[in-house]
């Protein structure tokens, strides 16, 4: 029982990452009709916003310390962050410790900006082009983006820890009356789950309750009609692209402490997030979220030792197996609309 509760918890957490990425992907697809293979790259850039911001906070000048030696036996150069000079060491350390949450503030304008530039500079010209062309050009863009990141940050993962306050894990087991330590979950992952829930809720509320959102939803349903009403839908779609990029980017920022960011983390997520979107049904936002959580939970269950003993290798294929079964039983995924990307 406790094992099952634990894996559900796990699946929700995993699923929240999938759902966030799939949500952004679906926003872009649903509003603009563009298959964006560079979406994973946006997620990756988000994570590197966190990396860059913490690097920025630790920008240092060097002080030669004659008492210590470096690995070659020369006097050691000690790096002193400028932030120490500004705020003193204690406050400086605290700020550096909170780099990841703080970088959220920076990353929103950065990601929205990147989204605008991408849409106006490139994607805009591909609305009327075949999906295959969209895939190729965004895939090319994804490669370029990740190579640029690799050029500046290297291929190795870069540790980007969460604030010390979120170290360790919360003991649900003890709370629910199980033995202590049976159901523990890291604080930061709980934060991530809550964060994802807030973002998903905010996007839905935005689309549901604002005029802007209503127009965009109408545009998703029938672009031409909305265009005929004299509403400048293109401008709104650009903004929508910026929002989708920001959602992906924020998902990336918050993910940085979970797995140290590296330049190909976007590609690692890309295929998976496409599976999630398609299983959810092309163009359906609730579908994307639902599929994200569903696949996350199933993946967690498949990685349980008991299950693996029963069916070796199931953890390798579970997502794809489920995708196949769902697509064969529900032609348009869980909540897909008819006629979307079926040609």
């Amino acid at each position: 029982m406790d094992a099952i509760i634990l894996q559900i918890l796990n699946g929700l957490d995993k699923g929240s990452a999938y759902a966030l990425i799939a949500l952004g992907l679906t926003l872009i697809f649903g509003t603009l009709g563009v298959v964006n293979f560079a979406h994973g790259a946006l997620f990756m850039i988000g994570a590197f916003c966190a990396v860059t911001f913490s690097k920025f906070l630790t920008l240092s000048h060097t002080v030669i310390d004659e008492n210590k030696t470096d690995f070659l036996g020369n006097p050691a150069k000690i790096e002193v962050p400028y932030i120490y000079d500004l705020f003193g060491q204690a406050t400086g350390d605290a700020i550096i410790d909170w780099a990841v949450p703080l970088s959220l503030i920076v990353s929103i304008p950065v990601m929205v900006g990147i989204g605008f530039i991408m849409e106006r500079g490139l994607i805009k010209h591909f609305y009327k082009r075949p999906h295959a062309d969209q895939i190729l050009v965004t895939f090319g863009l994804a490669i370029v983006l990740q190579e640029v990141i690799k050029y500046y940050y290297g291929a190795n993962p870069i540790p980007t820890p969460a604030p010390d306050a979120f170290r360790g894990s919360f003991d649900f087991g003890a709370m629910m009356g199980f033995d202590p330590n049976t159901i523990i979950y890291p604080y930061w992952r709980l934060v991530y789950f809550a964060f994802a829930a807030v973002i998903i809720g905010a996007v839905f509320a935005f689309l549901q309750f604002t005029t802007f959102g209503m127009v965009v939803r109408a545009g998703m349903a029938d672009r031409e009609t909305v265009g005929l009403l004299g509403i400048n839908i293109d401008k709104r779609f650009t903004i929508m692209f910026g929002i989708a990029a920001a959602v992906a980017g924020l998902a990336g920022v918050m993910y940085a402490p979970i797995n140290s960011p590296n330049y190909h983390m976007g590609m690692d997520f890309l295929v998976l997030s496409f599976v999630v979107v398609v299983v959810g049904g092309m163009g359906s936002l609730p579908g994307a979220v639902l599929a994200g959580f569903l696949l996350g939970i199933l993946e967690s269950f498949a990685s349980m030792a008991v299950v693996l003993e029963l069916i070796p290798g199931i953890n390798q294929v579970i997502i794809y197996l489920v995708a196949i079964i769902i697509l064969l039983t529900r032609p348009r995924g869980l909540m897909g609309r008819k006629g979307v990307m079926e040609e």
Partner: protein, 448 residues
């Protein structure tokens, strides 16, 4: 047209027929038949450095390449000579290899066996490389080693840790300086027993591919021999990035030690996740929960950041060693590049020198002569103490380092501290040990 069984740069035996129908004046290569692939004919000799330049191991590949460039510089008499000064064999003169200036070509393995073979083949066929070296995974090492055996060139493996490379997939033309899974297990077990006691319950997470299997087997058998119990061993997909689902149930199992048979990105992520779960702050069975990482690398430790603190593992070499060889290498590498070398850089540098030395001693680039010179070759001064290149499986036998993540690092490179230098006797095994069984070296192939 008649085909002579030659690859590039070798001499054509019967190629005249090929030009029979052509009106342009044609010339055959003027040199004589030398009896092996890519026999160097001019004043230079070409070596092929096949390292990952794209993909997750690109940084490790870049470090390997730096080491090779340094080795070439030293072989050609440049720089401070590096390990050539401390190497027990004095055959190398600093005038290239057998008087031929060393040149090199590079390629990208992409850490994929297909791509690695393609780039190795291009070095052999197009650039006339007489030796291929490098790589950062066992899949690549085994694939390229088999290729070199077929093509008749020497393969000096880079970073490859799986038993298979010199076990079931060993080849006469291939040599490995790096240590292997068995040695990791054999070196780690006593240290672990010493530090954590002999009645531990271990939970293994194992990367679901060959290297993971051999490492798990090695660590399990040697820790179980010390009295540990293995509670469970779960295989994780190579493509996994988030290990939470595998780590969450560890505490429920009643285990008090987690062994992460992971490497590279897998290891960085699984270790980060495990520490995030706060496993190391827990008490199980009245003991502090512990994590072990059988194969450490400094580059990966860097990726995991502070999470490595206090965690045991093994490594082939570390820059903080204080023997003359290690000091010399760190000095020349550090002076040139500004940071200390990784273990991958070390093994690659040493492999390049060992090859050059073997050629000098054999007096020939002929792979069979080189094999003979390397087999059962004993040397010292390369940073690992007295070392034997065993003839039976072309594996180096030397001391193994057990290391621990440093609690208070003084610099960004100062991540690991050496806990123990396990003497070579303790990690030596029979060539037909069950963990190595099933392969055969065959005989050396000189190619054409």
């Amino acid at each position: 047209m008649s085909f002579s069984k030659l690859t590039r740069r070798g001499l054509m035996k019967t190629g005249a027929a090929a030009s029979a129908g052509l009106t342009l004046p044609t010339y055959l290569r003027a040199d004589g038949h030398s009896g092996f692939t890519n026999a160097p004919t001019g004043s230079t000799v070409t070596l092929g450095f096949n390292v990952p330049q794209s993909g997750p191991y690109a940084d490790e590949g870049a470090d390997e390449l730096r080491a090779y460039e340094l080795a070439v510089e030293h072989l050609n008499g440049g720089g401070d000579g590096g390990l050539m000064n401390t190497f027990s064999s004095k055959a190398l003169q600093g005038n290239g290899i057998l008087g031929k200036k060393v040149e090199y070509v590079t390629g990208d393995t992409q850490t994929k066996s297909d791509a690695a073979r393609a780039s190795a083949k291009s070095m052999i066929e197009k650039d006339g490389a007489v030796m291929i070296t490098g790589g950062s995974s066992s899949g690549v090492a085994v694939a390229v080693q088999a290729l070199c055996q077929e093509a008749g060139v020497i393969f000096m493996a880079g970073l490859t840790h799986s038993n298979d490379t010199t076990g079931k997939d060993k080849r006469a033309n291939g040599f490995r300086h790096f240590f292997n899974s068995y040695m990791s297990g054999a070196a780690l077990a006593p240290v672990l027993a010493n530090a954590y006691g002999t009645d531990r319950k271990a939970y293994h997470l194992t990367a679901d591919y060959n290297w993971g299997y051999t490492t798990e087997e090695a660590v399990r058998s040697s820790t179980e021999a010390m009295g540990w119990e293995t509670v469970n061993a779960v295989k994780t997909p190579l493509t996994q990035t988030d290990f939470s689902a595998y780590i969450a149930p560890v505490l429920q199992s009643g285990a008090d030690t987690l062994v992460l048979n992971h490497y590279g990105g897998n290891m960085v992520n699984s270790l980060t996740n495990a520490v995030q779960f706060g496993l190391r702050d827990k008490q199980v069975n009245g003991k502090d929960f512990q994590i072990v990482v059988p194969l450490y690398s400094r580059l990966m430790a860097k990726g995991a950041g502070a999470n490595v603190k206090g965690i045991f593992g093994s490594t082939n070499w570390h820059w903080s060693l204080t023997d003359e060889g290690s000091k010399a290498f760190v000095k020349s590498f550090g002076t040139k590049y500004g940071f200390p070398p990784s273990q991958a850089a070390h093994t690659c540098y040493v492999q390049a020198l060992l090859y050059a030395d073997a050629v000098e001693r054999a007096g020939s680039f002929n792979p069979c002569a080189v094999v003979e010179a390397l087999e059962d070759f004993e040397f010292d001064g390369m940073g690992n103490g007295p070392t034997l290149y065993r003839g039976a499986d072309h594996q180096c036998f030397k001391d193994v380092l057990v290391v621990k993540g440093k609690e208070n690092p003084e610099s960004e490179f100062d991540l690991l501290e050496i806990v123990e230098v396990t003497p070579v006797e303790q990690v030596t095994y029979d060539p037909d040990h069950p963990q190595m069984a099933g392969g055969s070296l065959g005989t050396c192939n000189p190619g054409a």
